[in-house]
């Protein structure tokens, strides 16, 4: 089975973000970088699938500057077999369709049976790249999966819907899956595997060779939301307080409605 996992390098979400000089993205200098959380689930699922089948070949793909190779090496250390780095210093400025077009252009003639992506990236959060890629490739996509099993070319996946509802979906391969928190617990790459990953194939191609879509969107401004007003402190007799609280909850929220 041929598997593709698409990952993105994102800043550590605990970082203090600043808007960059152009005012359209965050300032990327002086940040610590790591693998997008949802992509870790994707990598883990790919590796588990290969382990379950006892065979397979996993390619990990990432688009970005040379720096993203560090994150790709983590995926290789977790168990991916080879890496394809699409070299692009301007990846952050590309809209989801462009990113998807790059992935699809690479995947087109490779005969991948299963493609995993994260359900969204932690920094841009469009949630579109996976589904757009599947669309371009003409394969079905199943989003926000929290469970995955594969039996003879048929995948059964559990999706997480709004309000705690789950859906079980069956789909034939080839298919694309976007992975959600809860799907699995990603392994920590072991030291021996980190060393072995050094010897795995990690090729780079310039993005121009794969980019098939023009930009149609433009981010005009990136900004922090204005701080909302503070809270209300209620004082007085306990009985009265309870009544006023209930009143406020009824007026301003839906927590008491049925």
């Amino acid at each position: 089975m041929k598997i593709l996992v698409c990952i993105k390098q994102v800043p550590d979400m605990e970082s203090k973000f600043k808007v960059d000089a152009a005012g359209t993205w965050y300032d990327t200098s002086d940040l610590a970088w790591r693998m997008n959380e949802y992509d870790e689930y994707a990598v883990e699922q790919a590796v588990r699938l290969k382990e379950q089948l006892g065979q397979g070949d996993i390619t990990v793909l990432s688009i970005g500057s040379d720096k993203v190779k560090e994150t790709m090496k983590k995926a290789l250390a977790m168990g991916c077999d080879r890496g394809l780095h699409v070299s692009d210093d301007q990846a952050a400025g590309k809209e989801p369709l462009q990113i998807a077009s790059v992935i699809a252009a690479f995947a087109q003639d490779k005969g991948f049976d299963v493609i995993f992506t994260g359900m969204q990236s932690q920094d841009r959060g469009s949630g579109q790249v996976g589904v757009l890629t599947a669309e371009i490739l003409g394969m079905p996509s199943v989003t926000t999966i929290v469970d995955f099993s594969c039996d003879g070319g048929v995948v059964s996946a559990k999706r997480e819907l709004e309000g705690g509802v789950k859906a079980r979906v069956k789909v034939n391969t080839p298919a694309l899956f976007t992975c959600q928190l809860g799907l699995n617990k990603p392994r920590y790459p072991t030291l021996p595997n980190i060393m072995k990953a050094k010897k795995k194939e990690l090729l780079s191609v310039p993005v121009a060779e794969l980019l098939r879509a023009d930009a149609r969107q433009q981010t005009t401004k990136l900004y922090f939301p204005e701080k909302k007003g503070g809270g209300i402190v209620l004082e007085g007799d306990v009985g009265e307080l309870a009544d006023r609280l209930v009143q406020i909850l009824q007026e301003k929220t839906t927590v008491l409605s049925r």
Partner: protein, 593 residues
Amino acid sequence: MAEALLKGGEYLITETKCEDVFTPEDFSDEQRQFGETTQQFIAGEILPRVEEIDAQNFDIVVDGMRQCGELGLLMMDAPEEYGGLDLDKASSMLVAERIAVSGSFSVAYAAHTGIGTLPLIYYGTHEQKEKYLEKLITGEWCAAYCLTEPGAGSDALGGQASAVLSEDGSHYILNGTKQFITNGGFARLFTVFAKIDKVHFTAFLVERDFEGLTIGPEEKKLGIKGSSTTPVALENCKVPVDNLLGEIGKGHKIAFNVLNVGRFKLGAAVTGAAKAALETGIKYANERTQFKRKLSSFGAIQEKIADLNADIFASESLVYRLAGLLDDKLATIDKGVEDYYVQYQKGIEEYAPECAISKVFCSEVLARTVDEVVQIYGGYGYVSEYPAERFYRDERINRIFEGTNEINRLLIPGMILRKAMKGELPLQAEAMKAFEALMTPSFDDLDESVVFAAEKALLANLKTLFLILAGTGVQKFMDKIADEQEIMMAAADIAIQIFALESTVLRAEKALTGFNERKQALVRAAVKVFAFSASEIIATAARKGAFYVEEGDTLTMILSGVRRFTKYDASGLLAAKKLLAEAACEDEKYLFS
């Protein structure tokens, strides 16, 4: 990395170029990944259970060690032919640093991988390694090291434990009591030191199940409560002759060489703990409001945060510079040679002074850090509910084990002077030059085009000062200088601070070009803050030393030399501290990792 050519202690008489030092900014992607795996493992599996561990639920520790084994964290120093990774020291130090936040668990890890496993790796025969090494590097067995006895602590070779060959020649019969044995409660393999026929100090590999070995009750401790510390009693303990480790009568080599490694790794570990402690302190300072202001807005608190950032930057610079020195030295040895580990030991021993420096300097930076972090927390630092209290208690042991800081301080100038006497370091010739410099006033202007010109000039002067004081001391006391402990302590402080400051400046210089503007300003600030502090500590130590050794005109001359050679223009010091503090409070962490 050409600093491999630098000999142990030689930093005191030469200048090093920044290209020649290893710094944390030089980590490879793989090394960074080792660090990340460790960090995620500790954060995910160990930190959530710290309280249970501190309640001495050792099953968690043993289980955690097994997980470390699965991740490969126990095999970093083991040779590849026995399933190890045989990685560089920089990697193992980074891992030690990342494990350190776990306190007690970190002590179990350090004892196992360090003093527990290294004697076997360095001195074990092929059969011994075949038998035990895999068990240790997978975490199936934990290891312990039994050197200390009730009557022999710092005087480690003064122990009473004895070994006698059995009549049939098949076993050694060990008797004695070992004290304060880390991992005693659950270790399966003990490296035990005992004297054969009361004379020949020798090491033995003793299994927990060997007849005659009894584990005593857990000590009740001030800190690292979740690490196991027990006495180990040997009552006619039968150890097969095949389990004698190394050579008869050469146990002291094992004991001391393993301690060298323990010391530089301890330097790395305490640096990791300091970063974590500082981070909680900074976060708290940002959360807590008094007088309607955040604590982090008060100058008194900011100064602590700034000083600690600079101190930890120095620790980190020192530790990884030493890692680089060791790695470069060890890389010169051919792994295929028969006596690989003999040469390897020599390689590490070369830097024994720097290893001791790492232990003392970094453990004292951690001590200041946890103390100030408790202070930042105020009353909440004193109660167990907040993390400051655990950091504070767990810190204390680091200045006691792996050789107390006094013993290590004595070793630093002691070993350097011994190297000089053996002709390995031209200290005497350099001291003559230093005395000449003392007599001739100099008016050298700083070359401002040089990066960190003021700090480099200061360093050159501090080295001169060290030579003057060491020279004066040796002249007066000759080979009895080692008995003049007060003077040795002063000399140690000077040597320690010089190494720390030089490592700091070299790292800063090397890293500068790769940093953005903000970070460059911060590094410059850290260098200034630390250079000021180091020059003041050295001035005090040097003055003290001068008063101890000399009197009359010579004293006056040396004191004026102290003034001259410790002069450092720290203009902008307050602004530098403000800058560091504000940035650290903004990032809510130690600024340079």
